[in-house]
Symmetry: C2
Subunit: 492 residues, 2 copies
């Protein structure tokens, strides 16, 4: 695509100035509309070294109100970022509703550079391309505008510019070794960029090439495209957002319905104590091994109110080295969280490699409480099954162990526990009016949970039902599952 | 993707039979739902020669009601099909609402084979990939379910099967030279298929790989995926369809508003006659050249009622050899047309190469009358600008000359012509109540037309405004534009 691209004729200086004045004024108007309509706008500046990305970015933002945008320079990942999934550093930086984020450099630069320099294999590279396509699409599906610019110059202009920059002692620092390498291997880089662009040129997030032979001309192209793209996104936002549901392409496990699960499993007190002791010791050892092998573990808990999630988590956590794990209780989202993609707050809570994160309630809120209480649109929660499968695929590709527990009790057991909480002063804080209200919707919840288990029980991030009428039975079962999953991963 | 694909474990015979029975029953239920909900379903069977596509297709349709599906065997294009745009033979075969079309072989097989055998260049091949992605996406956007299967076997199994088929005199005919070539160049083919699949594996039309080591197992995989895919599509159809508008990526020309166009241009009778004569002769010559060089021409007319489209078309057509052109008057769609993608009836009317098609009213009805009369949803007409740009890009890539005329008059001129028609007995058939009703909506139409001209005035399929207060001026202008465009193409 890039190779066959035919540049637009550069307009005369006079026409250029006139068009630029008009485009700048229009962008200022669009900025206010973006704010009013709550549109999040992510603009990516990528392209050749010395193509002028930075200085054009500087020109474009000049006319904008600094309260409404953020610029991020995304060159090499930090050592902390390298310990997270590849998309982490980008996902945590997505803009809020009504704001612009300008990325100087992006995932494109990162993966193409890693691939060109042999830091990642062809296979990893291709996996990243898939991840990138999912990332850009899910942003779009969730109401984001993503605009991607590639600043293009030919080998000769690049060589000339790099030479000029290097010869001037004030600009010498701007020329990196990678820039020089890029110029020396221009054709090889061009091949890789061309293929990358073709592979990631999605309808919902197309590439725009910027003829970067002159700054003012670059600025005009960028500004005009931004204005037109914002108009498209505003038109999309005007109608209720509704992205098509996708056909499932992830490998699913067979999943029974909750009503088919027998809850009469129990364990004797003595056996419980013995097993608990043995299993916790074993888990402690494994935690140590995980840490050394830098394998991350994510354990997600969902379940009925009073099903015994808290006690179950305690028995897992109790076996772990406190320096190596974190428990994340998930409540309703904060305003800053609500104003972004609903998975943003979970990306933000991902552990470093070698660490364990335990989520007490999770991203599955989208397809349970948010669905049933109308906190998101029908299209939002229907889309979420696939979005969640994609999210967990990122975790699995990052080599994480992903385990999801559904803690199951029957309706009578819940009533008994609620009543007990109500009648026991030191437990009263654990029971609220909301619990009783949720209980009234048991059947609706059960239907939603069945659908959730059915659609997200993937081979790489499986669901396990913990029969928790007998809480002790459930704890032992959880420990065994966690141990087995970690052992399996360590043996890979 | 194909290369890294890990097959599912094949279930035991017992489990296979049980699952197959269940899946077949479910597909029968889905068939009725598809009919009731008016879902059009396009299922593509592609893959290796001797992978069993045909016989699995035979098994799958066995349980379906033959009134509700059609099978199409799409091997080599016919000589007539070769004279149309590449996608023509597929677009004209898309199913109606509520029906299935099963394609045994598809655009995948066609383009990969052409590419492998060197019949098309790398550049053409890549253009085709883009066309294919647009085609599959626009079907999805317009409510189609597209399911793509790739039947996979390894080189050894293929070799064994081909040998067995060849050794049996009843099946010998089923082994083609291309099959043998494919087996001999298995790895080379695999590379190309793998890349093709990766390039066309869109979220809205993903690929499914079928482990084709055994027929019953293949049938099970196909049936289960079909059922799940139909469920997704039915869920999408349940809510009002709303696909996101796309950012424009086509090169647009600057376009004035209708109100900025001065309509006082005229021509003297004598000059008109002289010019008409010269220009028509020239166009006649060019038509001959076009014919020999097999260049297709598409001329699209839109304009206000009584603007003089008919007379204008007559002057173009009058210059042409009647064996080499066709005029298509476009009225409201027939039921069979309404039940398909709205561009279907225009694909069906495309000329052969070397021929000229003149459309008296066009696909732009979508963004004018259908928009204003509510014959399609807001999302439908908003999406149409891009869909039309894509459609015309197919025409341009097929090397067609594409010219679009907007025949413009002012409101007073229309009134005078309407009144004249009303008062002249032999012209009364030309004026209807609808014309008067449309006239009342002049301002709404003007707004829609301005938006249409703005968004679809591409460099490869430009709009020309014909100032037709003086019809003769407009005719001469039209002839000149057509001549110039054809001369330019012939000189390429």
């Amino acid at each position: 695509m890039l190779k066959e691209w035919v540049k637009d004729d550069r307009p005369s200086d006079e026409e250029l100035s006139a068009r630029l004045e008009k485009a700048r004024a229009e962008l200022m108007v669009r900025q206010m509309q973006v704010k009013e309509k709550g549109l999040p706008v992510l603009v990516v500046f990528d392209g050749w070294g010395a193509a002028g990305k930075g200085s054009v970015l500087g020109r474009v933002i000049k006319g904008l109100d600094p309260r409404f945008f953020k610029c991020e320079t995304l060159t090499e990942p930090t050592s902390d970022e390298l310990r997270r999934p590849f998309l982490y550093r980008y996902f945590v930086r997505i803009p809020k509703e009504g704001k612009f984020s300008f990325f100087d450099g992006s995932w494109m630069g990162e993966v193409t550079s890693q691939f060109l320099h042999g830091d990642i294999s062809k296979k990893q590279y291709k996996e990243h391309l898939t991840s990138i396509k999912r990332f850009e699409r899910t942003l779009n599906d969730n109401g984001y505008l993503v605009v991607k610019f590639f600043f293009h110059i030919d080998e000769k202009i690049q060589r000339k510019r790099l030479k000029e920059l290097e010869e001037n002692k004030h600009t010498k620092w701007r020329v990196s070794e990678k820039d020089k390498w890029q110029n020396k291997h221009y054709d090889k880089c061009l091949d890789v960029y061309d293929e990358y662009i073709e592979a990631t040129n999605q309808f919902v997030a197309p590439w725009y090439f910027i003829d970067s032979s002159a700054k003012k001309w670059s600025e005009l192209q960028v500004t005009e495209i931004l204005v037109a793209s914002i108009d498209t996104a505003l038109a999309n936002a005007e109608s209720e957002k509704k992205a098509p549901l996708l056909q499932n392409t992830f490998p699913l496990r067979e999943t029974p319905k909750l009503s088919e699960i027998s809850l009469d499993k129990t364990i004797e007190e003595e056996e419980y104590k013995k097993e608990l002791d043995v299993l916790q010791k074993r888990l402690g050892q494994l935690h140590n091994e995980l840490y050394h092998k830098k394998i991350p573990v994510i354990i997600a808990y969902e379940g009925w109110d009073a099903a015994g999630k808290g006690g179950n988590i305690k028995r897992i956590a109790g076996a772990l080295d406190p320096r190596g794990y974190e428990v994340h209780p998930i409540a309703s989202p904060e305003p800053a969280e609500k104003a972004r993609h609903y998975l943003w707050r979970f990306w933000n809570r991902l552990p470093k490699d070698g660490h364990i994160a335990i989520f007490d309630r999770t991203w599955y809120g989208r397809v349970m409480v948010e669905r049933l209480e109308g906190f998101c649109s029908e299209n939002d929660w229907q889309r979420a099954y696939n979005e969640i499968n994609e999210f967990e695929k990122e975790l699995a590709d990052w080599n994480a162990v992903v385990i999801k527990f559904w803690v199951q009790i029957d309706k009578d057991t819940q009533l008994a526990r609620f009543t007990d909480r109500q009648n026991t002063p030191e437990k009263q804080w654990k029971i609220t009016d909301e619990d009783w209200r949720n209980r009234e919707k048991w059947d609706q919840y059960e239907e939603a949970i069945d659908e959730m288990l059915q659609k997200t029980n993937t081979k790489y991030a499986p669901w396990y039902v913990l029969e928790s009428n007998d809480k002790k039975y459930a704890r032992i079962k959880a420990l065994k599952i966690v141990i087995k999953a970690i052992e399996k991963k360590l043996a890979e």
